[in-house]
């Protein structure tokens, strides 16, 4: 006998709990602040220039696309500002203004609005833009070349490049402690391990992102890197090194769990994160690029609709 009370829902009016899209985006902006702050300390006012230009132009392109497509103005939801900040976090502090402006244009127009705006993009807009720009003007995003005029108190060579070209011995300076404190070169907001982990924990605690994706991605990176390292310890750096270098932590907390390009069900989320981790390590250790996170994110974004086909069994049946 079917229970009559099982699937009863009440009708309106409902009580809204107060959370909204804008709050979520501003929360994510807040979570990114510690990592961005260290980037500004490390790279100075040129980093401020890149961040300010990136956020302001991202907001401008969003506003312009709203006007062109005759939709309501959405710059107030914080998404454009968040994407602008994320874009700045991934690039060197020496990136010229016109590259930043072109990047935010590609990000907002080709990455987001061409698919109908927020919630419609199949790929992470920041990753789409950065990959297009890397293919077009790779020299600006080569951290070794871009940061030659900076003096640091630590080894100023890009750790993933060193590991790929010269093996484990070359990255002995990059201990987990140093990497957690951001003692490595990289994107403005992508090097401060502690800051990114703190920001990620905040995002998970506030349920702005799904822990399943971040945890499965990081676990997958750890395990895959460990297998490579155990197979050839001199050639492949260890798992802690790969967890704390490149875009790993930004990818785990800010890129992979993006709403519309990531799965919503439990098992798909685990597969999505784990797949990105394996791909990242394959690209880093066997592929041509120093860092594989961006390409792995793009690939898993592509697989996302298929993964979401894995659904829980529907309750009940059609009579």
């Amino acid at each position: 006998m079917r229970s009559e009370k099982m699937f009863i829902v009440s009708h309106a009016p409902f009580w809204h709990n107060g959370s909204n899209v804008a709050e979520r985006h501003y929360g994510m902006l807040l979570a990114a602040m510690p990592a961005v702050a260290l980037g500004i300390v490390q790279y100075g006012l040129p980093a401020v220039a890149v961040i300010a230009m990136s956020i302001s132009t991202a907001i401008f392109w969003e506003w312009l696309m709203n006007r062109v497509t005759k939709r309501s103005i959405t710059v107030g939801d914080g998404n454009a500002a968040l994407l602008g900040l994320l874009f700045a976090m991934l690039i060197p502090a020496t990136t010229p203004w016109w590259v930043v402006t072109t990047g935010t244009f590609v990000m907002m127009v080709l990455g987001k609005h061409i698919f109908g705006g927020i919630g419609g993009n199949p790929f992470h807009p920041v990753v789409v833009s950065l990959m297009i720009l890397t293919v077009s003007w790779g020299a600006f995003f080569d951290f070794n070349g871009a940061l030659v005029n900076y003096s640091f108190s630590f080894n100023a060579l890009y750790p993933l490049g060193l590991a790929k070209n010269f093996g484990t011995a070359a990255v002995a300076d990059f201990t987990p402690g140093n990497l957690l404190l951001g003692r490595q070169i990289g994107g403005i907001g992508a090097t401060f391990g502690l800051g990114l982990i703190g920001g990620g924990a905040y995002l998970i605690a506030k349920r702005y992102i799904r822990w399943e994706i971040a945890v499965s991605f990081l676990s997958s990176i750890f395990l895959t890197a460990l297998i490579f390292h155990l197979a050839a310890p001199d050639q492949y750096a260890g798992p802690m090194f790969h967890l704390l270098t490149g875009y790993t932590l930004v990818g785990a907390f800010f890129l992979l769990p993006e709403d519309s390009s990531s799965p919503v069900n439990f098992l798909p989320m685990l597969i999505y994160g784990a797949g990105a981790g394996v791909m990242t390590m394959l690209i880093r250790n066997i592929g041509n690029y120093h860092d594989g996170v961006l390409l792995a994110v793009l690939l898993m974004n592509l697989v996302n609709p298929l993964l979401d086909k894995i659904r829980p069994k529907a309750l009940g049946k059609v009579a």
Binding site: A22, V48, A49
Partner: protein, 145 residues
């Protein structure tokens, strides 16, 4: 939906950030130091990152070991690429920098090695001599992909 007040706030923040960005780009560009810290030689076979400051301060080498011409004048410490061009054209006149000291007629028959040739000779000769660092057994010791 965003209220008019919130929209105005976002517009104001965007304009302020844009002005800050422009100001910082114009007023605080990353200037190369007088003495290079690191020099990246871009190459199709893999870029070479030369740690200039480390060679100058941490290793027991004189500036004149590399900056060989003229060899006794600190003002003569000019960048390698000012004389050794990366892609010199065949039968091209000598680089302009050479004409600061030489008459064009005096050096018209001088064969100037290209920057890659000069660097290969200079780096490998020195490294082989002291038996330290990359000693050109494999390109990948210097050229990183």
């Amino acid at each position: 939906m965003t209220s008019e007040r919130d929209l105005k706030l976002v517009y104001s923040v965007a304009v302020i950030l844009f002005i800050v960005g422009l100001f910082c780009y114009a007023a605080f560009p990353v200037k190369p130091p007088d003495e290079p810290l690191r020099i990246q030689y871009r190459s199709a076979t893999g870029n070479v990152l030369f740690e200039h400051a480390k060679h100058a301060t941490e290793y027991d080498v004189s500036c004149y070991d590399c900056h060989h011409h003229p060899g006794d004048d600190e003002a003569g410490l000019i960048a390698c690429s000012e004389c050794h061009l990366k892609n010199p054209e065949e039968n091209a006149p000598p680089p302009e920098r050479c004409l600061d000291c030489h008459d064009a007629d005096d050096i018209e028959d001088t064969e100037m090695p290209s920057q890659p040739d000069a660097s290969h000779d200079q780096c490998s000769e020195c490294h082989s001599g002291i038996g330290a660092g990359p000693v050109k057994q494999a390109c990948s010791e210097c050229h990183a992909q």
